[in-house]
Symmetry: C2
Subunit: 508 residues, 2 copies
């Protein structure tokens, strides 16, 4: 490497390191605000968050950033850079180019708008009153319609938004994937409903003390190979996982004493996210690449652990006795098979975050179709509540009776996050594809789970996904690991197989 290249490279790496340090500080503040910061300090703390975010934004869009990118990409230097630096430069360039086309005042107003909209949404949801939220959502949709033009797109306008959450994915691909999910799952869900073979679930709601749930949650996290020396478990209203750096990846959960599933499956889910962040290669620390590559790949990790491990019969063959013991023997009258069927109860429901594994994707498809129509000008905000209810009835098979359990249930649109929802369903699809690929390397997968030997599963994920952070694009990871593009067949087969068993279906 020439001396001149070394100088520019070092300047760039120190610059992005500083941005990362600010982001890490902001991450800790966000964690603290959600886990126990005293409320009277929150307003000033938000100012600190604002200062840090503005600084990161200013640095990402600065003249200096532009100059460094241009220099490093010039023939004089590019060939001498290692892969991590190259990818870091490209990542910064992508962000720079995207943001550079958004008028600064529009962007700033949008931040204020969505901040106010979240407050308005909370009240509107509480009061089931869409009309009070409508003006905010209209402005948000309006901004997003302009945004896609500013940042540019190929094909469908909605592709510009997808790129923010799941780069490489397009409406063309998603339409096909979701279309297949819909055509296969909608009649299948109908069949299980009509089977009348609902599992008995009353015993799930017995009183299970918080402390005991916490003890069990920690045990399971350890078994998953979550490293408590590089993380911690806390309690929050809305559980989340946050990776501050690979040595500090924090998980939160919540405890419902009359439904232990909230904590147990929630912890496994967030633990799946955490394993991803804990096992990113330390060589990426300080670069923009030291995080999960996309929302969808992240969700593939959490969902894999939640469903392919946590809702696996073998998992409970191994851990049901432990659960019984921790619970104070409250499940002693429930045979394993009955318990297994109960935790896999499925069917149409109204609320996405309470939906089961089988119907979850359908909830996502409802949202995807609606937001795609909004962005393309084929649907107006005022018509959204009816459109929502119609789609729910058509796809999920149940119709909300008011907007609080309908169009107002999610915060995403209030927060301006259009393009985010598809990641959830893509995560399911990816997870099933990963499972198929994993079986080639770990043909005794079922036995491993049944023994509670989860280390090989975690190691497989680290080797194939975790370690790369953002070094690989989502579709690149998928292709490298599975040899395929996005393919919903694996998920469909898995779900049909499993729920035929749970619902004792002989046909379909």
């Amino acid at each position: 490497m020439t001396n001149q290249t070394e100088v520019v490279k070092t300047e760039f790496l120190q610059y992005v390191k500083k941005m990362n340090d600010y982001k890490e500080a902001a991450g800790l503040i966000a964690w603290d605000l959600r886990t126990g910061a005293p409320k009277k300090g929150a307003e000033q703390r938000s100012e600190v968050l604002g200062t840090l975010s503005s600084e990161v934004f200013a640095m990402a869009t600065s003249e200096k950033m532009k100059r460094m990118i241009d220099e490093l990409k010039s023939d004089a230097h590019w060939g001498e850079l290692n892969d991590v630096t190259k990818k870091s430069v490209l990542e910064c360039e992508k962000k720079y180019n995207k943001v550079a086309n958004v008028p600064a005042d529009e962007q700033k107003n949008y931040v204020i708008l969505t901040s106010n909209a979240e407050v308005a949404w909370e009240e509107a949801k509480e009061k089931r009153d869409f009309e009070s939220f409508q003006p905010y959502l209209e402005k948000i949709v309006d901004y997003n319609r302009k945004y896609v033009d500013w940042v540019g797109y190929e094909g469908n306008k909605y592709n510009a938004l997808l790129d923010d959450f799941e780069p490489g994915l397009t409406v063309e691909v998603i339409d096909e994937v979701f279309g297949k999910l819909k055509s296969e799952l909608v009649p299948f869900v109908k069949a299980i409903v009509e089977s009348g073979n609902d599992p008995k679930t009353d015993f799930l709601f017995r009183h299970f003390p918080k402390e005991k749930q916490e003890e069990f949650s920690k045990t399971i996290l350890k078994e998953m190979q979550y490293d408590f020396d590089a993380g911690r478990l806390d309690t929050t209203v809305h559980p989340f996982c946050i990776g501050l750096n690979p040595g500090d990846v924090r998980v939160t959960t919540k405890y419902d004493e009359s439904d232990f599933r909230t904590a147990v499956f929630g912890t496994i889910h967030e633990g799946g996210h955490a394993l991803y962040e804990q096992n990113i290669s330390s060589s990426l620390i300080g670069t923009p690449l030291s995080t999960g590559t996309s929302m969808g790949i992240h969700e593939s990790q959490s969902l894999f652990w939640e469903n392919f491990v946590g809702r696996h019969k073998g998992f409970w063959t191994r851990f049901y006795d432990d659960l019984k013991h921790v619970s104070g023997d409250q499940f002693d009258d429930v045979p394993l098979e009955e318990y297994f069927r109960a935790i896999n109860v499925a069917g149409p429901s109204l609320i996405r975050i309470e939906a089961d594994e089988l119907t979850y994707c359908l909830h996502i498809i409802v949202r995807y179709e609606l937001e795609k129509a909004l962005i393309n000008g084929e649907l107006e905000v005022k018509d959204l509540p009816k459109a929502w209810n119609d789609k729910m009835e058509e796809i999920v098979g149940v119709r909300p009776t008011h907007n609080g359990e309908g169009v107002l249930q999610d915060v995403h649109w209030a927060g301006g996050m259009f393009g985010y929802f598809p990641s959830y369903a893509l995560g399911y699809v990816y997870a099933a594809q990963l499972k198929t690929a994993m079986l080639k390397d770990l043909p005794d997968y079922d036995a491993l789970i049944t023994e509670g030997n989860l280390l090989p599963v975690k190691e497989w994920m680290t080797k194939n996904i975790h370690q790369f952070g953002k070094m690989k694009e989502p579709l690149e990871i998928l292709s490298d690991v599975t040899g395929e593009g996005v393919n919903p067949d694996h998920l469909i087969n898995y779900l049909k197989d499993k729920y035929r068993r749970v619902y004792q279906l002989t046909t379909v």
Copy 2:
């Protein structure tokens, strides 16, 4: 205000606000590192701290800072500024001028030196091995001898260091104050030892469960008017209080199940610091003035609550039954008077942080005399252990048998904090002066404490001290509240009065 003044003023206030925001973020990180951050993330988190501190340092010493100070102090603007802005400018100017004379590379090397020295000190203390720590301390003393020349001083060289912790105080004043304390307390301590009237204390060491201590600690904090909506109580090895902003002032404590005094008096002490930070005027938020004015005034608050409230007979007249109850009735066989004498047991001891109210100042005087001699070149580091032991024997009345319980016991010198120790004793002296002043406004002080009516005490402190933050200098506060300079007589009278009673002395 002219438009031009408004522009410069706004630029300056936004600039110092940003510095404050960074400091607040760094403060939260420091709190988190000491209360439960996972250890594997700590190294990278320290980098974040370093990035934030460097940025604050760079901003405090920047050309821009210098320009803004000069502009605002010019005749064109100064007269139009309000008092808060003026004082903020002066505070920034003082820091700028001080740091500007310190060579940047020397300063940077010193940060690394003290960081390494703290590690070396910890091991040396453990092994009672001064020789391994000596080279570090020699370099640290050497730097401080140069530092006082860089930043300048009037009178004694040590005054330059005092100015960093207790601005306005000088060796000339402290020599007189500490001289008087010594001449009065040394013989008095001897007299209580010779009295043979040691209180019975065995019952203090009965097993007191952590949870119960925590419950009682929280009760007492609430009674002190500590606002839990603007703070929280956590557990740490070395208890502290940190004010992130007036709405978020966190306290930590530790629980020793065989000595509840550690938690109870430790919590009251840190609670005293916290009340100061919680009650600084919100008009100072975002300026450099939104913190305690000096280490000594801060310590006056913690010590006032710990001793003038927490070790007051009336306080236990009110709370002893509560303590008995929480403890599981373990003190039922101990009459109040016996309990009161026990928690005020006093006498010569080796370790500063375990010293009692009566002898604490003597421990400080030992350190003050030694560091003053070191800085003035009248003592060399190699001769320090013997000098320490001699002084301990002369002033406190007990001689260490090894350096672990002698010269190596405190972290301050390893951390480069020369000039800090006097603040502890000054805090005692101030606290007693404040008590005398308070009695004029609250003549029924004893009755208030005995009723557990602590609100008027807290309100008096807020009115006279807390609210001003750094708007007033320490000696300005002292003079405004007491009409005096630093006067040790109040402390001497209080201690003699109290300990005559505790030790049932008839003479002295």
